[in-house]
Symmetry: C2
Subunit: 343 residues, 2 copies
């Protein structure tokens, strides 16, 4: 059942049927409903290929699978990707994946994706502090939305969460509880989000008259093991230098910190306070942490959905100004934080 069959059936022209179905104004409401009903009845599905050929749009969004730069723990990326796919399919778009292979540079992957012209726009995630992909896509004339922000001379559409403010708040909150030695176990510092978090952390300390100390600061992968290793290292410092509170970039890292603390008989929420950033993954919940985890929270899934909306919006109105959203992040206080222990 194609457009022609349907139009013959309805005794209308293809033009009218097409317009009725696609919501154009120059068709009366009566025929529109008639057309819709018939299409529904006969299970008419427009051919994606034909539409693509006619419009020059592929109805497809591209996303490059960050195998090389998977500093971003896979679980988090997976959630992001999943929600992008979900939202895209709701809006009638497909998402196709590309991937940087061992030998091939990431740039080559982007070039190929663009040249094959199978993709209307791309979604970029986890930008570096200065990310070369922006300039590349710009020069290739490929629209994109960045999940995150970065230092760049080219203008770009972005959705990001307010990492700086989140970690500023969290740090200040710990200071207000009397903590003076606060450790930051961050994500890989080549990424912009990690840099932002660090800057919030530093600013809060400075505001409180404290100086950030190098031995209380580290950045790496978002895993439990990394968190445990770094926390264990810091907790072995002499008691005057040992942190009494930890700030983590992910719940996985916080689990590691908890483990390190426990092996020293330190109780989370009493001897050691703990805050982590909570991406609101379905399986890793701050509220079921033991003890329930104080967290800066923001749903990475919701962000994925919104990014897709933004990118499609941009496709529909190419001349609209590039959107730039920054979501606030809530600090939710639970039982893993408490007043600094007396010396």
């Amino acid at each position: 059942m194609n457009l022609r069959d349907l139009s013959l059936l309805l005794d209308l022209s293809q033009t009218t049927v097409s317009r009725a179905l696609n919501g154009f104004p120059e068709v009366s409401e009566r025929t529109r409903t008639r057309v819709r009903a018939a299409a529904e009845l006969h299970g008419y599905r427009p051919s994606a290929a034909a539409r693509r050929l006619a419009t020059g749009q592929s109805g497809t969004l591209g996303l490059v699978f960050p195998r090389e730069r998977n500093m971003l723990s896979d679980l988090i990326f997976t959630e992001f990707l999943g929600c992008c796919v979900e939202q895209a399919s709701d809006l009638g778009y497909d998402i196709t994946l590309a991937m940087a292979r061992g030998a091939q540079t990431e740039e080559a992957v982007y070039r190929r994706a663009v040249r094959s012209a199978r993709v209307d726009a791309m979604i970029l995630s986890s930008p570096l502090i200065a990310d070369p992909r922006l300039g590349l896509l710009r020069s290739l004339n490929m629209p994109f939305v960045l999940h995150g922000r970065t230092r760049s001379s080219v203008p770009y559409a972005t959705l990001d969460i307010d990492n700086r403010s989140a970690f500023l708040q969290a740090t200040r909150f710990l200071c207000d509880l009397g903590h003076t030695r606060i450790a930051l176990i961050n994500g890989d510092r080549r990424f912009n989000f990690a840099a932002d978090r660090e800057s919030g952390y530093r600013e809060a300390l400075t505001m409180k008259g404290l100086t950030p100390r190098a031995e209380h600061l580290c950045g790496g992968v978002m895993t439990e093991n990394y968190g445990e290793a770094e926390a264990a290292r810091m907790l072995r410092l002499p008691s005057d230098d040992r942190p009494t509170a930890f700030l983590c970039s992910s719940i996985a890292q916080a689990m590691g910190v908890k483990r390190a603390a426990q092996s020293l008989q330190l109780k989370i929420g009493e001897d050691v306070s703990l805050i982590a950033h909570d991406d609101r993954l379905a399986d890793v919940r701050a509220e079921t942490f033991d003890p329930p985890l104080t967290a800066t929270q923001s749903s990475i899934g919701a962000a994925g959905k919104r990014v897709v909306e933004l990118v499609i919006q941009q496709l529909r109105e190419p001349d609209a100004p590039l959107p730039s959203e920054v979501w606030p992040v809530d600090l939710v206080v639970r039982a893993s934080t408490g007043p600094a222990p007396r010396t």
Copy 2:
């Protein structure tokens, strides 16, 4: 630069240019090279949309993102997916993702993917013991290849590893070392691969005159925590019942077992032997485990690539018999296994 421009430029017909580029035999080798050179020179890329429309093939493979059934630990699925994408792109295919949303049934997702006809074939992964998706896709007339096997009345193309034999070998190996109480920490038993592994395990025990015991057997998620919890439970059994060896379905679970053992001052490879299945993920390596881990190994990435090859082969020759490959699995002995401790 499209086909017509190129043909005008070469003073050939579109037919000839198209055929030259696509390797048809009815074009002389001389003009073929001439055409190829010109195409290269002018950066000609055939339009995917036009080709799709003309051929009725979309050049796209579908894969449903298993959010609900993510018993399969995400890391492993991610590796599988990544390699599928890589191989597909090498062979000129795209992979688009679909996803089962909360409310929507998995079936609806498949139906939608098929109806929208944007996909030539689908890749199915991690089948249940009896998986309804096969019948569904068959009835929708959508070609597919299954990664794994399942109980099904419909014929299907498949690539699987020999899970049964792998776990049979591993179990027998442990028996030969004198172990008589061998625990199996399996994947979720609704999945066929887990059932196969259990059956290999049971068979080996039976062959050796041992009876599998319910308290030594469990199946669940492929995580370190799950492995630790179950191992801890088993290691608390009275010493006559306590397992001296563990068989795990993933390295993550093995890490949990190691942790449980260590917290009881038990040494892996001496007090407790440990074997796990190793999917050959880049970041999780059996050989850098401490101690190096005896493992049944098979690259899930290689399987992903091969699945893509099979599915494309099937697309090219729809009448060829459905392929059915079963890969043998090697047991690689390292230091995590040793003779059963004397009582």
